[in-house]
Amino acid sequence: MKAKEFNIKWGMVIDLDKCTGCGACMTACQVENNIAPMVDASNKLRTLSWMLVYELSNKKAAPDAEIAYLPRPCMQCGNPACVPVCPVVATDKNEEGGIVSQIYPRCIGCRYCMAACPYHARYFNWEDPVFPKGMEKALSPNTSARPRGVVEKCNFCHTRLMKAKDKARQEGGNPEALADGAYMPACVEVCPTGAITFGDLKNPEHKVHELAKNENAFRLLEKLGLAPQVYYMSKREWVRKLGDNYAATGKAGAAKKHS
């Protein structure tokens, strides 16, 4: 299948050699997107984590053991597996920029999209959002709270894109040619090591344009052909291999298909 193409392609390049796994991105994501805290957050089948930091291991015994942390937002695939399976078109990839949408009021909670997504980037609201008493006063204006029964996921903080475009219009700029850094999701803004670089993968003036072509850049499960808009990079071969799950070539990193 051919990936959907747009003139602008918002994407990330995450340098795994700079991610310490501190979790600031996860906290900032919850704050920005009004994800209610859960009393038992160790039940990972029930938690909502639009951004989730995985721990990777080279599986070697000490002293050769190494670990790496891998932050996983929604990959905003060029050819998303979740879109064709949605029976009510609650999720689509139809907007300039290539962000895969999720329309909560339209979602009927069938969870086909969750089954289809190989990145586990989608989450189902098993409960209504309940904030500790008073904490609803600290809700972010950027994302509506979702009721139980619907699926949700990272949308690259889409409200921030709308606001950046509005700002460009107000300042007489071109909303379809935002400057590098004019729009960035909460996780990118907050990362203390700047491990996540964000921008338009197609715009040569944006850092991600070059970074995505770096020899150490790779995408998760490239062999599936979903063409994610999130790239990772690591100088560590074992990390690149894991990212690809020993894809088609069997070599470190898979054949890269840059667009």
Binding site: V13, D15, D17, K18, C19, T20, G21, C22, G23, A24, M26, T27, A28, Q30, V31, E32, N34, P37, M38, V39, D40, S42, N43, S49, V53, E55, S57, A61, A62, P63, A65, E66, I67, A68, P105, R106, D128, P129, F131, P132, K133, G134, M135, K137, A138, S140, P141, T143, R146, G149, V190, P192, T193, G194, A195, T197, E210, L211, N214, M233
Partner: protein, 689 residues
């Protein structure tokens, strides 16, 4: 006119077709889908203009300079303040969720008075303040009757507390919670210096962290992360090497070029053995005690493999890397930020002396004493440590009748926590100035709610680790606190006045402004996210051989394993239980339901006869902690690693009763030659249950 069959079919088909062409059905479906999710109990988000305000967020130990995003006058998010040269726009995982902590269910909502075991009643501020004065009045002028414990490492509030105690005739009653600053300053003294050590991570091209979890929970972690990031440009070649030597493959080690698995019992041995390897490779020092130091280093090297489980080759490789670096720096610290004693510090810091890196760019510095706002306040380094104070209370050597607890949680976050909490029971009147209902507040006779960082004036002088003198200050983001709180310092200054003591200030804001003035800094610029910096200093330091020679070798116990408590900044600190929003960050290999995991490497697990998922108990000093086993190769040999900061008995539903409190099984011993209480080298026995 009758309706025949054909007419009926036409009517139905026409009706259906007509309906499809009207928007009614589609609009209805759309409305139904929207309204079926639009229930009254789903919270609505605020609307309006988002403004940002600068704040000093002292939720984490070092404090983050943040920009707080505010809508309709209410904070909802925090990001780093790019204008602040220390945090450079970065923020830690605790301060990133600072706005939500304003409404933490664990916050103390009003002054409370104890009316029975575990029972409190809300009282008015005027009654609470009157009670405080009433209890302190008869103790005034009686040496040893009033004590205070501060859990704040950097605030000028310490000056107020110390001056208040002096003024009431109890100058020796001021104690501080354990932390790196306290022991490291003593370590510098043992090396012939005077002041708090600093580490210029930003200027170094090889950073060896011995114990210090500098990229997560140690020192000014956000500034350290920024220094790391600057030397590791995305997509480019790194300009500095980072190496971690410590008991676990933690967040810091995960991005380092090399991790050397050193059990917490062998930190000093590792440092001295490395000194030996460096001396072998040609390092010499003009320090007077070099010959003695050289002999000590050689002795340590002989026992290196047995003590650490590492091969001597690893040291040689490391020494070669250090020799090849232009600006190497050794950062000394305990892997969980406390309890290491001064000798572990001296052993690691002496490497900087050996390499001639003291006072150099990218080296170790010594910060001089900062000017005080209140002249009668004692120097912080002369304070007692809280563990010693409560140990004396337990044995009757000290018998204060009143204890003021400022931003500290000694009933939970001291080694042998259960005994410390019990010792507190010997003190008749305990006042807890706390933002949250922590374990200490739950034991107090009077709880005076303190403001959240967005509701108060506060400052931070020389957060531990900074290479040059540093001062930060902040003012409230909110015009009115969200709860009935008062600044503890304002309360103490008012109480001092009623006790006939004038400290020269009426509010904490005045104290901070005076401090800024004494430094020659502009308070308004500081409150807007600015910073004051002094010049970095060096000073001649010895290798500390005299002190190191007194260090007693750890007694080997074949049955016990070293205990490595693990701190992760995101999971809270000694004064803050895991914030509700950060619980999501805790992995299910660290905490599952109410069970903590103890991490053991496969060889250690085999030796102990335990396997993945086994329930075990870790025992030491008459206390025990239960946990499940998780086999993890990121743990040093003969070491059990387990998260610190869980097993809360107070706070809120998000943290209470989850896991166990590892402080309980940290056993205190006296450090030979320094008299300090140490517990970083605690050992435990592990048994299946």
């Amino acid at each position: 006119m009758g309706l025949d069959r054909r007419g009926f079919v036409k009517f139905v088909v026409g009706g259906v077709a007509g309906t499809l062409f009207t928007p009614v059905i589609w609009q209805g479906l759309d409305d139904a889908s929207i309204w079926s999710q639009n229930w009254g109990w789903i919270p609505r988000v605020p609307k309006g203009e988002v403004k940002t305000k600068s704040a000093l967020s002292k939720l984490c130990p070092s404090g983050c300079a943040v920009k707080v995003k505010v809508i309709e006058g209410k904070p909802f998010a925090a990001v780093g303040n790019a204008a602040n040269p220390m945090s450079k726009g970065g923020v830690c995982p605790i301060c990133a969720g600072g706005a939500q902590l304003l409404y933490s269910p664990a916050r103390v909502k009003s002054p409370m008075k104890k009316v029975g075991e575990g029972k409190f009643e809300a009282i008015k501020w005027e009654d609470a303040e009157a009670l405080l004065v009433e209890k302190l009045t008869p103790l005034k002028g009686q040496e040893g009757k009033i004590a205070a414990i501060s859990g704040d490492e950097t605030g000028s509030a310490n000056e107020v507390l110390s001056a208040l105690l002096s003024g009431l005739g109890n100058a020796g009653g001021f104690a501080v919670m354990p932390g790196e600053m306290y022991t490291a300053t003593r370590g510098v003294k043992l090396m012939g210096g005077n002041g708090q050590p600093g580490f210029d991570i930003e200027g170094a091209d090889l950073v060896l962290m011995i114990g210090a979890d500098a990229l997560d929970s140690w020192g000014t972690s956000v500034a350290n992360l920024k220094a790391f990031a600057a030397s590791h440009p995305t997509g480019g070649a790194a300009t500095a090497q980072y190496i971690y030597a410590g008991p676990t493959l933690n967040n810091t080690a995960s991005v380092c070029d090399k991790w050397l698995a050193v059990p917490p019992t062998a930190t000093a041995t590792f440092s001295l053995a490395l000194a030996h390897a460096l001396i072998e490779a040609g390092a010499v020092s003009s320090a007077a005690d070099f010959a003695e130091y050289k002999a000590l280093a050689a002795k340590a090297a002989a026992g290196f493999e047995a003590a650490t489980g590492l091969k001597a080759e690893a040291l040689k490789e490391l020494a070669a890397k250090i020799k090849a670096a232009k600006a190497p720096l050794v950062v000394a610290g305990a892997s969980f930020g406390q309890g290491a004693g001064a000798l572990d510090f001296v052993a690691a810091a002496s490497l900087n002396v050996l390499l001639g890196r003291v006072g150099q760019k990218g080296g170790m510095t010594v910060l001089g004493a900062a000017p005080k706002a209140i002249a009668s306040a004692a120097d912080r380094e002369n304070a007692k440590d809280a563990a010693s104070l409560l140990a004396q209370v337990a044995t009757g050597k000290a018998a204060p009748a009143a204890l003021l607890i400022y931003e500290a949680n000694p009933a939970y976050a001291l080694p042998q926590a259960a005994e410390m909490a019990k010792a507190m029971g010997n003190i008749a009147f305990k006042v807890s100035f706390s933002t949250y209902m922590d374990e200490t507040a739950a034991l107090a006779d009077l709880i005076l709610p303190a403001p959240h960082p967005y509701e108060r004036y506060d400052d931070a002088m020389n957060p531990y680790g900074v290479a040059k003198a540093t001062y930060l200050a902040g003012k409230p983001v909110l015009k009115q606190p969200v709860l009935d709180v008062k600044d503890p310092v304002d309360v103490l200054l008012a109480a001092a006045g009623k006790l006939g003591l004038s400290l020269g200030f009426e509010t904490y804001a005045d104290v901070i402004k005076a401090k800024a003035k004494a430094l020659g800094a502009d308070f308004d610029a500081l409150a807007a996210g600015g910073i004051w910096n002094g010049e970095p200093k060096g000073g001649a330091l010895s290798l500390g051989a005299g002190a190191l020679a007194k260090a007693a070798p750890a007694a080997a116990d074949e049955k016990a394993v070293a205990l490595a408590p693990v701190t992760r900044l995101a999971y809270g600190s000694a004064t803050l239980a895991t914030p509700p929003a950060n619980l999501l960050n805790v992995r299910d290999t660290e905490l599952k339901g109410k069970d903590l995991f103890v991490q053991l490497n496969a060889a250690t697990a085999k030796k102990l006869g335990v396997a993945e998922g086994n329930k075990v108990k870790l025992s030491a000093g008459g206390a025990e902690v239960k946990a499940l086993v998780h086999v993890n190769e990121g743990v040093a040999a003969n070491t059990a690693a387990i998260l610190l900061g869980f097993g809360r008995s107070a706070w809120d539903e998000f943290t209470k009763g989850k896991g166990d409190n590892v402080y309980k099984i940290l056993t205190v011993s006296d450090e030979a030659g320094t008299g300090l209480k140490v517990w970083a080298g605690s050992t435990v026995t592990v048994a299946k249950v």
